[in-house]
Structures are given as C-alpha cells and as structure tokens.
C-alpha cells in the first residue's frame, strides 16, 4: 500500500514539473481522478482469538480500496466552482477456512468467504480554487460535497451468495494541487476524505429479500481516506 502511494506521489510530482500554460481561467471544468483509499473503520474482531485469525487477515485486505471520481464544475467566479460529483469506491477480499456461528446456536460452520464491495457517492459539490491567476499554473483547491451514498456488497459465505445493499447520505472532502499543462488540460494530486455510514440494509439471496436496520455499533462504516491522481479538462475559458 505504501509503495502504491509513493508511486502516485512521484507521478504527480513529475507532472507538476511540466511547463505550464498561462491565462487559463476555467468556466466549465471536468475532473477525473483515480487512486487508492483506506477504510478508516477499525475491526471489532479480536485478533488473538484463533478462530478469527483468518478473519483478521481478511479484514486487513478489505481496508485497501480503489476509488475513482468524476465531477463537472461551473465557475461563475474565478475561485469558486459549483457542480456535480460522482465517486466510486470499490474493495474486495477473499479467504479460506472461516469459522462461522450457525443460527442454531450449536454448530460452527467452516467455509470460504469472498466479497466485492462498491460504494457510490453522487451529489452537489463546491470547489474553492486558490491562486488561480492566469499567470500561475499551479493551483490549490479544496472541494466539499454532500450527497447520496449507495452501498453494494456481493458476498459469498460458506458457499452461499448474498447481496447486501444500502443507502445513506455522506459527505466528501477533497484537497489537492493541479498544474495546468495546456490551456485545457491539467494534472494533479489530491487527498480525499469520505464519511458515510449505512444502517438500513437489504439482504438478498436471489430469492428472498430481508431488510434490516443496524444499530450504531453494527452499521456499515464506509468512511475512508484516499490519495488520487487527477486530471482536469476545461471546456471553456473566461475571457
């Protein structure tokens, strides 16, 4: 994980050393970024319990996620843009020999487990751009968003597939640096923060659906921190 972050940082640093174009005040801007995130939630599983050794490793894998982001912004002023943002976070893990407690309260079930989780975020966003004079190609920005979060988990437990879905609201905050390569194109690096918990979920095994409301101790926390490389395309410029 650390190696990935360092590589991304070096990439961005190299991009930032490119010769920047001047006089690029955006009016309509499209941003795309990809990067890595880390789920901030801590596992309640006791790693010293040998029944949960495999589960601990499994959860460690789940912390590492991929994220991608699209947003489009309109800048009525030089340093403030408004727009719409979409984020997709995905993470997955698989492991063997998990010990599950069965519903009968008597048996343990031994099986494999795998899951692919997706967190979609969409909502209005506002971006503050500092140091946005045409003479200076290096820009610092802060972006704040609130919106709708959709959670989807494709889980296989002991040879049974289930789909968990849920919805909630979330907030997202990004901050980063961009360097304008051309009049229309800029690259950069940004750090992201997502806060979202899902407490109303739906469990579907392909035949039956069951809705559950999770208490605050068991709700699904999708909050994460991430680092992404981003690219921006400016459709039109201010005169």
């Amino acid at each position: 994980m650390k190696a990935k972050i360092i590589l991304l940082f070096l990439l961005c640093a190299s991009i930032s050393t490119l010769d920047a174009a001047n006089d690029i005040l955006p009016k309509l801007q499209f941003n795309f970024s990809v990067g890595a995130s880390y789920l901030t939630v801590q596992s309640a599983v006791n790693p010293s319990n040998e029944n949960f050794v495999n589960l601990t490793k499994y959860i460690d894998k789940l912390h590492n996620e991929f994220n991608s982001q699209f947003d489009i912004l309109y800048f009525p002023q030089n340093n403030i843009g408004y727009g719409l943002k979409y984020n997709l976070y995905s993470y997955s893990a698989q492991g063997q020999d998990f010990i599950f407690n069965s519903d009968d309260g008597i048996h343990n079930i031994v099986g494999d487990m795998a899951e692919k989780d997706f967190v979609n975020f969409i909502g209005p966003t506002i971006m503050f751009v500092t140091n946005s004079s045409p003479e200076n190609p290096l820009k610092f920005f802060v972006q704040y968003s609130v919106g709708y979060v959709s959670y989807r988990s494709e889980t296989t437990m002991a040879e049974t597939n289930i789909l968990l879905t849920g919805e909630s609201f979330g907030t997202s905050m990004d901050a980063g640096l961009h360097y304008c390569l051309t009049k229309n194109l800029s690259f950069g690096l940004k750090a992201s923060l997502l806060y979202s918990t899902v407490s109303n979920i739906e469990i579907f095994d392909g035949l039956n659906k069951e809705s559950k409301t999770l208490d605050k101790y068991n709700s699904i926390n999708n909050s994460s921190v991430g680092l992404s490389a981003s690219i921006s395309y400016i459709f039109s410029h201010k005169k």
Binding site: F30, F32, S68, D97, I106, V110, F118, F204, G206, L207
Partner: protein, 568 residues
C-alpha cells in the same frame, strides 16, 4: 478531448454494469449432487470430557483422499480442520469443553460433524452429549410400610438447588405400581412432586414382602436412592403351617426325612414326610409328655402321665401300652428291652432325686427305681448310639452335672461330674463329642474318664467370648453344620437360628426367617411373634424345619411348623 470523454463514459458503463449485476446469486440455486454418508456410530461426548478421538472408515473414497471439516458443534475444537484419509480411515482428534444442556440420563442429540471428503461427498457423524447436571434432592420418607391393609401411599420429592433435578424410577418390586407419569421427570428450583405408590397384594402368597424402589437421580450424593417398601398379605406364607394342639416333643428321622411331632389336645403323633409334605398320624390314648426313637427308627416310645406307649412306626399303630404309674418326663429306649424313664418335674423349684430315675422291662412291664443315680426329676437322658450307656443332665440344678450309666439292664452309675455343660446334651454323629445347651463342646465321657471331662471349648460366634444359652441343637453331617436356636434375651419373644461349623465350631451365619404368624389370640386375628422350640435339618441340609410357638409374652399356645429353604 472527445476521445477522453468516450473512454470515461465506457469506464462508467462497465463499472455501472458490474456494479449492478446480480447474476452471481444464481449459483445459490444450482444443485450439485454429492454423496452423503451418515455414520451409524455416533460420537458421544461426556460432561467434563476434555479431549477425544473419532475414527471411521469411508469406503469408496480415495485411500488418502483429502478431507475438510465443514460443520461441527462449537464446543469441539479439532486439531486440524483439514487432513487426509489414511487407508480410507478418517481420524478426527479433538478437544472439547462443557456444554450446559438440559440434564438427562440418556445421551441427547447435540448436533453433527460434517466432513467433506474430496471426490466422495459428505460424511455426517451424529454427535450426542451426555450431561446429567447436578441437583440436590429432598425426599420426605424413604420407608413405606403398607402393613397388611394399606394400598396407597406417596413420597414427596423436591429440589433445593437452582439447577434442574431429574429422576427416573429404574426398579421396583412387582407388587408395587407407579403411574408412568410419575416414573420419571424433572423438577425446577424448589418445585415439589408427589409420587403415588400403590401396593397390590392380590394373589401374593403369605409372608413379609420387602423391596426397594430404586430412583436414579442427578443428585451427586444420591445417584441411586432406595425407597424401602414393605407389605404383608393377611395370610400365612406357604412355608408356615399350623400345628393343631400343643407340641410336647419332637423327633426327626434323618435317614427317611420324617418329622415326628407329639401333641396334646389332640393327643397324637404326627408323622410328616419333609420330602413331600405327606402327613400321617397316630392317635394316642394319653396326652404325651415325651417321645424317643429306637436306634433303627422303627419304634417310637411315648411317655405320658402314667403310661408308656410303644409304637411301630411303619404300621402307624400302638403295639403296646404300659402302665408305669409315674408321670414320665423323659424316656429313652436302651435297645435292651428296657426303657429308662425320668419322672416329670412339677416345678423347677421342687426338683428332687427321690425315685426320679426309673426303668422297666418291656416284656413284663415291671417298673424299677434306679439307685444311687444323681438324677433329679425333670432331668434329660440320652443314649449313646451303639453303646450301652446313658448320660443324664439336670436342668433344674446348678451345676447341671453329668451322670454316666451303663445299661446292661439295671442302670448302674459309672461316674458323676459335678460340672455344668448345659441342661441338655446332644451327641455328635460319631458319638465322640457332646454339645451342651450352654455352648459347651466336651468329650463324651466313658468309664475311663477321670475326675473331669475334657472340654473342647465353646460354640462361638467369633465375636463375643461369653457362652450363649442354646435352646435346641441339630446336627447335619452332609453340610457339616450345627444348627441351634439361640434365644436373644435382648428381644422379647425372639430367638436366633444359628449355623455353626461342625469342623471349627465357629458361627457361620444367623438365619433370617419369618417370626410372624397370623393367628387368633383372645379373639384378635393378627400377626404374632413366634419362637422356635425345636429345630431339624433334613438329611441333605437344604431345609430346616422349625417347630414354633407364640412368644411367652402372649401366654398362649399356637404352634406352627416353618420350613426354611436353605438352598435359596
């Protein structure tokens, strides 16, 4: 820029498609058939068991096929969830912990172990758990005596622990019935339960019935609780037969297993075959006081007040009746055509030696008085088998003394020993030893005996050093037993029946026998305590016959004969 937009759009579509595709759920409904082998040999875990092993053969699987445990009760921990069969043998080693289930006396189904064997299928091993728990049982009584009339009673059981008490009646006498719903159950904290117990005497032969209702419980201090139940049908047992009249004397012919009982009112001699119970009787003209057999057991001599009757046993007839003009207290036949008589004592305080010892010639009936005899009225005399000697003892004097007489015709005293060996003496089978009623064992005196008779000690119970007074003695050569009645002076109206070893003279056992006899005394029909006065064993030593009368405290005569089966 347009290309970039298209690429981004494509990525969004792909992500969106996979992000919303539910096809992976379809595999939940795709059936995959796998062999299932259910083991016929369950694994049973016990409370406090910490580890164990289970082995079974999985035929039709690969000899070393890999396996994987897929399901198991959570109180089991396997050393490994995976492994390989060894020559088709599945071996599971595990540790386990306690599981607190509902207590039960039988193993209860806990769950199962499911093992997936590669290229074979599933092996299912049923798992049972044996947990009886623990509780404290309280019971209000452990003895129920239904007596002669009671039919219904109950016991109350309760628990005082927080844990559940379970119980199960596992044994009961066949004359006891208990409702099925009461035979087993469980009681929670401070719960109580009445167990109704019914006594059924119908069709039961007489006798005292005593048995135990055995209750299995999970009380660690009373895992098997005995509730003693007793009852007695209001009839005499088959082995107890009444004897009409008052028993005066008895003899037993061991070679023929015949019991001879002389009774007054009616005056007769009963002859009972103890092999088959057949009874014969010889009616007498006078109330008998005593009887004596000839050595060949063909003739019986009956002494009464003023008369001696000679009876031929086989013909069941009185051959001759002799007027002897004395009240005969004891009689022996000298095998010399003379009978020797002791005058009956009127009272134990008026015993006298005056003309107490008589003899008479059976040819002419002439009665003579013996001289210089040291014999008192009420004395006992015996004849030594095959020898012309009589031995007499005096019950009413102290010491009892022993007098030895030769009886060629006139009884001539050989010697007298002023010592006590008991009121009465019984000779051993070979006649060498005499057993006295004060438990003495002495050498049979003869004309070479000096001033004292050689003593061989006492019949002993091996515990106490003192001498018991015995009531009656009988010897059984076949079992080398000496049977004796031994009055217990610590109990009213009771006498032990004791068996001594004829080789070392130590007590072998005290017999348990019925002392209760259903009869009517002073208009009251009830069970009364009886005491054995005469005791005989049969030739083989398999049966004892006790001639019994009511205890002295009842001041009544109700005689009976009890057959005691020693072979049981």
């Amino acid at each position: 820029m347009r290309k970039l937009s298209e690429i981004v759009l494509c990525i969004l579509l792909v992500v969106g498609f996979y992000g919303c595709n539910n096809d992976f759920l379809n595999s939940n409904f795709s059936l995959i058939f796998k062999n299932t082998l259910v083991s016929s040999d369950s694994l049973t875990l016990y409370f406090n068991q910490t580890m164990g092993s289970y082995t079974m053969t999985v035929k039709n699987a690969g000899e070393t096929a890999p396996y994987r445990i897929r399901k198991y009760p959570d109180n089991i921990k396997f050393s490994s969830l995976k492994g390989n069969l060894q020559n088709n043998v599945l071996t599971l080693n595990f540790s386990c912990t306690n599981r607190y289930t509902d207590p039960s006396f039988d193993p209860t189904k806990l769950g199962e172990i499911v093992v997936e064997v590669e290229d074979f299928g599933y092996v299912i091993i049923p798992v049972n758990y044996f947990f009886t728990g623990g509780a404290e049982l309280k019971i209000n009584k452990i003895l129920i005596d239904f007596g002669t009339t009671g039919t219904l009673d109950s016991v109350e059981i309760a628990t005082v622990w927080m844990t559940k008490l379970i119980y199960k009646i596992i044994e009961q006498p066949d004359w006891i019935s208990i409702n099925d719903s009461d035979k087993s159950g469980g009681l929670s904290f401070y719960e109580k339960k009445q167990i109704k117990i019914t006594c059924n005497r119908t069709g039961k032969p007489g006798g005292l019935y005593e048995g135990n209702i055995v209750v299995q419980t999970n009380d660690p201090n009373q895992l098997f609780l005995n509730i003693t139940v007793k009852m007695r049908p209001l009839i005499n047992p088959d082995e107890l037969q009444p004897i009409e009249g008052t028993v005066a004397d008895c003899e037993y012919i061991k070679s023929e297993n015949k019991l001879l009982i002389a009774t007054k009112s009616p005056d007769r001699v009963l002859i009972i075959s103890t092999d088959n119970g057949a009874k014969q009787q010889i009616d007498l003209n006078h109330a008998p006081n005593c009887i004596s057999l000839s050595e060949d057991a063909q003739q019986l001599f009956v002494g009464s007040n003023g008369y001696v009757d000679k009876i031929i046993i086989n013909s069941l007839s009185i051959e001759k009746s002799y007027n002897v003009n004395i009240n005969v207290g004891d009689i022996v036949y000298g095998e010399n055509n003379y009978c020797y008589l002791i005058v009956r004592n009127i009272s134990e305080f008026s015993t006298t030696s005056d003309a107490a010892f008589r003899y008479f010639n059976m040819s002419d009936g002439n009665v003579f008085t013996a001289q210089n005899h040291d014999i008192y009225t009420g004395s006992n005399i015996i004849k030594l088998k095959g020898k012309p000697y009589l031995i007499g003892t005096r019950p009413y004097t102290s010491p009892n003394g022993v007098a030895l007489f030769s009886i060629n015709d006139i009884p001539t005293k050989i010697s007298y020993w002023h010592d006590s060996f008991g009121a009465r003496l019984w000779p051993s089978e070979n006649g060498i030893i005499l057993f006295g009623t004060n438990s003495s064992i002495i050498q049979t005196p003869d004309n070479s005996t000096g001033t004292s008779i050689t003593s061989y000690g006492k019949l002993t119970d091996g515990i106490n050093s003192y001498s018991y007074n015995l009531g009656w003695i009988d010897l059984c050569q076949n079992t080398k037993s000496i049977w004796a009645t031994r009055p217990d002076y610590t109990k009213t109206d009771y006498s032990d029946i004791v068996e001594y070893d004829d080789t070392n003279y130590k007590q072998k056992r005290v017999l348990i026998y019925s002392t209760d006899y259903l009869t009517t005394v002073n208009g009251i029909n009830a069970f009364y305590k009886t005491v054995p006065y005469f005791l005989f064993s049969n030739k083989t030593g398999t049966k004892l016959f006790a001639i019994m009368n009511l205890g002295k405290s009842y001041n009544a005569n109700q005689w009976s004969i009890q057959t005691i089966n020693l072979a049981k």
